[in-house]
């Protein structure tokens, strides 16, 4: 959540009752949280197939937002949304083919550094194209906020919730029903065995990068009208998304969504009632606590996490 929104909220807040404030913060939290949840899903998809963490995950969200701003200027919204998704998906696929795929048998350290390098590169390219200033975007439908339970809620928040709901639904269907989805899950279970039964693991890795790039792009595209977007937003979004992924148990899709929402709400309540300056620290502190106390996550399976390599 950007500073601008915080200030707007502050001025609105002063006119609201405590109950209204609570509703307001909860709603903001759920909105931001669903974005964290989507970023966490992106982490999980790649982690499940490759057992690696893509440190460039947050950059997909940033690129999604900025490309959406660009597309929305010339195209009608639905078209712009699709073009954005396609563009970022392509970027994710190119990233996998050019940097991850050529590295056979790389160590964890190398993989971490490679994805960090890509994230710096993407950030640099974004700065080259869009400059340093944050970009605004019109909400998808109307600027007039909705009044609910004594709180003022931006209509875009419903778009965020709706789109993330659809993403979760489609993903669930994909992994349960689709041939490719099942094949990807098989790689997650055991890549060697998957290869033996004729699944092209190589292709599944590519698919996982493309898919998580697409999800990141969707998150970026819907959140930009609320939070603006600039070139260096990716790192923090990625970090919080990772926090959600760990909190929910790395690899667990439902855990990621719940943890994302939880993280968003805690952060928003902290920003509202404690200190807005430390709201970013709260999410990270929570991440550290979970990592230190229960690395398998709140909803994760301790036994399962022991089997995983990392």
């Amino acid at each position: 959540m950007p500073e601008r929104l915080s200030h707007e909220l502050k001025s609105v807040m002063e006119k609201l009752s405590l109950g209204g404030q609570l509703v307001q913060y909860l709603f903001t939290g759920v909105t931001v949280g669903s974005i964290y949840g989507m970023v966490a899903l992106g982490f999980n998809i790649i982690y499940n197939v490759t057992e690696m963490i893509n440190f460039a995950q947050g950059e997909f969200v940033m690129l999604g937002g900025l490309i959406m701003v660009l597309c929305a200027k010339v195209l009608p919204l639905p078209m712009a949304f699709c073009v954005t998704l396609a563009a970022v998906t392509a970027i994710g696929a190119i990233m996998e083919r050019s940097t991850i795929n050529p590295l056979k048998n790389a160590t964890v350290l190398t993989l971490i550094i490679v994805t960090i390098a890509v994230s710096i590169l993407l950030k640099g390219i974004a700065m080259f194209i869009w400059g340093k200033d944050p970009y605004m975007m019109q909400p998808f439908s109307g600027t007039e906020p909705l009044h609910l339970f004594g709180a003022a809620i931006q209509t875009q928040a419903f778009w965020v919730l709706g789109i993330s709901g659809i993403v979760v639904l489609l993903l669930t269907l994909f992994f349960r029903k689709a041939r490719y989805g099942k094949a990807m899950l098989a790689c997650a279970d055991n890549a060697e065995a998957a290869r033996l039964v004729g699944i092209k693991v190589n292709l599944m890795v590519l698919l996982s990068f493309a898919l998580s790039a697409a999800i990141g792009a969707a998150a970026g595209a819907v959140i930009t009208p609320i939070s603006l977007m600039e070139y260096d937003r990716g790192a923090l979004l990625g970090l919080k998304g990772f926090g959600a992924a760990v909190l929910g148990g790395l690899g667990s899709f439902s855990g990621a969504v719940v943890a994302g929402l939880l993280l968003g709400v805690v952060e928003s309540l902290c920003a509202g009632f404690v200190s807005s300056g430390y709201k970013d620290a709260v999410a990270l502190l929570l991440l550290l606590l979970v990592l230190f106390v229960r690395p398998s996550g709140l909803f994760g399976n301790v036994e399962a996490s022991k089997i995983k390599k990392f």
Binding site: T110, I120, G124, L239, Y278, A281, L288, L291
Partner: protein, 328 residues
Amino acid sequence: MSRGNLITLSAVVLLLILFPVLVANVEAISHYLDVMVFVGIFSLITMGLSLLMGYAGQISLGHAAFFGLGAYTSGILCVKVAVSPWLAMVGGTLVTAVVAYGVGVPSLKLKGHYLAMATLGFGVIVNIVFNEEVELTGGPSGLSNIPGLKLFGLPLRGELLFYILVWSMVLLVLIFCLNVIHSRVGRALRSIHDSEVAADAMGVETARYKVMIFVLSAVLASLAGSLYAHYVGFLSPSSFNLLFSIRLVMMVVVGGMHSLWGALLGTWLLTFLGNEWLHVFKDFDILVYGAILLFVVMALPEGLVSVVPRLSHMWRRGRESEGGTGGT
């Protein structure tokens, strides 16, 4: 110390002595002495990081935080409490050692990606604290008027004196680290790097060694931070952000993370690139950094130091074949 290390060390010392003389005589690069002071300061951090990454096989994406802790503790103690700079420096290392131990013990139980993210998260939190505790740190507008250092009552003014101080420290730390590598501790660390399970089975106290080297690298970073605070005289949170942590890791990786010499080479190269040669790119230096890092990891996973033996090998082979044709 091995013969190879001794030769390289002598060459480095010779270069370090010649450098100020050379620079003083060429107007166009006279400010390089200042850049070299920064290279020295950053080298203190990257040598520790090299031990941690290249030898113990653990990654830290939060070392800018330890650098910052040293710098801010020094700065705050000197400016707000009027403690003598040297005492403040010791204070900084103590604070950092305690924090590093507190973070290190639970963090180093984590593997691979988790550890990277934990240190990353820690680094970002510390940076937020630097920004938010305005009363202490001055917040985003920074902490200024940090006094300079004095040695035996003599104020260390100017680049040359600081250059001598910083690089003497670097050489001491370098010799210390080289000895660590070839000691029992060094062997233990390398065994952790190769296989933690195997090391454990052989009776190496992996947990203890990992925390030890983590704290050592944090203390070195803190020391560098204190020197930075007194040399620059002004601190701002943006000097200790995530990007700087990543740049430190880059210095180690680009130079070659399995060698302390690599860390020095990488630090030298990237500091000169960042402070001098990439100014033409202005803000877009980040693009160049990304490209360099990606290139090195993909094409030269052993870092730039690995080029030297490879080149000399090629040269020797070339000469041999030349000699061969000459003989017949």
